[in-house]
Symmetry: C2
Subunit: 354 residues, 2 copies
């Protein structure tokens, strides 16, 4: 029997509408507004064991571009006509579940919509989990304490295996994953060189985040700049971008280097053949390795990583920057910012103020 407050909310839910963004067609190259459809549904009341979550903010990620393709990958494509997959933070506004109560803040795959309803199995599949707002702001929970932070943490620590004194290079340095990787490497005693697009991002990465150097790939020769800033070679290269920058890093590896393949944003909208790293034989010359990682493999260890990173946020050894776009209706244009380098910091779509 739902208690009184839930009853009241449920009648309130009936008067609400749920705006949604659905995948209308599979894009070629950079997605446009025409690739999406916009629907509005009534907010369904929770059944037994179900919860209704109001979306507060959504994470916009490069990986989303891959989910739009009809190709085998580490996760199924979004089906045509489905609400676009997106991780986010929301508030439970109605609950008939024992696990979550109204008012709880949660993280999970809410989708690009204003309200999401979950049964128990759906909630597990969506990774729905309560978050502690004392550990970080809502946008930080989508950044350092969210998937990008977890990706940076496990990619660097498990695959990159940095040792104190190592030279760590990270591309997309001002982006969500990059800021965690670079700051964490600094905390672990490494020399850290970022690669980012534009003077503002580079200045911020060095001035605010404490990287030792940052290379503006829009300003000149990345290969020459890596030579200057990595005189002893690169021990760990954390790659978010692929393409020419990956090749420049390969040309500068130290003996026994580790390359973490986390993404290839320069290639996601490539309508030509994918560009492979033509300098990959540097792996042989330098006895180096290149290894891919998918953050979902580390879910069991998220709590410990979140606790560690929240500690760094609290004692100010780590900072974060989010680029917040408001309004679910602006999702299509917001997403494309990722691929043009238009965002500065972790890109977040604020769907509701509270």
């Amino acid at each position: 029997m739902p208690h009184r407050r839930t009853k009241a909310i449920m009648s309130a839910l009936a008067s609400l509408s749920n705006r949604q963004v659905r995948l209308a067609r599979r894009p070629t190259g950079l997605p446009t507004r025409d690739d999406w459809s916009f629907t509005t549904e009534a907010v369904a009341e929770p059944g037994d064991g179900e919860v209704v979550v109001k979306t507060l903010a959504l994470s916009l990620d490069p990986a989303m571009r891959g989910w739009m393709n009809d190709a085998k990958s580490y996760i199924a494509p979004v089906a045509l006509g489905d609400v676009m997959r997106a991780g986010g933070i929301g508030r439970v506004v109605a609950s008939r579940s024992d696990r979550l109560k109204e008012g709880d803040l949660v993280t999970g795959a809410l989708g690009v919509q204003e309200y999401a309803r979950f049964g128990e199995a759906d909630a597990r599949k969506a990774g729905l989990a309560k978050i502690d707002p004392r550990l970080g702001s809502i946008t930080q929970w989508l950044n350092v304490l969210g998937m990008p932070g977890m990706t940076g943490y496990f990619g660097l620590m498990d695959i990159g295996q940095p040792k104190p004194g190592d030279t760590v290079v990270v591309s997309g340095a001002a982006g969500a994953v990059g800021q965690t990787v670079g700051q964490l490497a600094r905390i672990k005693g490494c020399r850290v060189v970022g690669i980012a697009g534009g003077r503002d991002k580079c200045d911020w990465v060095v001035g605010e985040l404490g990287f030792d150097a940052c290379i503006d790939y829009k300003a000149g020769d990345v290969k020459a700049a890596l030579k200057e800033h990595c005189p002893k070679g690169i021990d760990v290269y954390f790659d978010n971008v692929g393409g020419e920058i990956l090749d420049a890093a390969l040309a500068r590896l130290a003996r026994g280097a580790r390359i973490v393949i986390c993404g290839a944003i320069s290639q996601y909208n490539n309508m030509q053949a994918m560009q492979g790293p033509k300098n990959y034989m540097s792996l042989l010359v330098n006895r180096a390795r290149m290894e891919g990682m998918v953050v979902f493999d580390y879910v069991d260890r998220f709590p410990a990583a979140i606790a560690e990173l929240a500690g760094y946020l609290k004692d100010r050894r780590m900072k974060s920057k989010e680029d917040v776009v408001e309004g679910i209706e602006n999702f299509p244009e917001a997403l494309t910012k990722l691929f043009t380098g238009g965002n500065f910091g972790k890109l977040v779509l604020q769907v509701s103020a509270g």
Copy 2:
């Protein structure tokens, strides 16, 4: 004071001439006869601590193409005008060293010449070491018991890390490294699929070496054939060739796969830009890794590996095939066979019958 026999040999040496092949210019693309010069020198008598080795047979290896380029690699380029670097087997014909005596069979970097003279430091640098002819024939000492065998052994065991039941794929399967890799993987309990050029090589690899299957890359679609022969995906891919075949293997990786980067023979004479593996993002999707290896890193462990492989030769669990070309004057044409797929088995240049 040299004893009597050495004195006699030394006067005999003086009447001998040493034919040599030197690097005359750096080739573009496939080397031709014009890239070499042919010289004849007197055989110098050994000084104190020195030995003179008569070359019996030389190993012709794909890596030689890289040594001809003026580019930074895991080993210095051969200088213009120098005797071409080559590993081989020889017999000590004169010795003023305590470490080796006349008649000893040795392996080491003898160079493409009929006689080589080594002081103690030179001998160390050339890796000059006595071999035991009871463990294998002279050509086997250049194959399974030599650098190709060591490359296959440590590349497979240390980098590939095969487990019983794994599917192991090796390109250049009928070549020197490939035959060791495939047979060793079979002995370790893996399912083994080779890739080789032509029906004869494939038939031999399956019929004589006991591979489970072999794909003739000249006969058709390697990607489709890998799908057929590796229904559960590839756990270990040992790459000797690069190019399209590496891409086909990347497209068929199992979760957690290991790719051993040992060579890229398809690209060594490429006059265009090196072709990078455009499917490298499969490393991410499959949480796989690609790692380079250089055999010289494992020198300390050669004796144990040689003992293990010699045991397999002795009990007939492992076979070997060498393709022997006779005559130092035929070195240029023999070398190019490697790059046109013209050799069948480990390519050996026999310089002297004994």
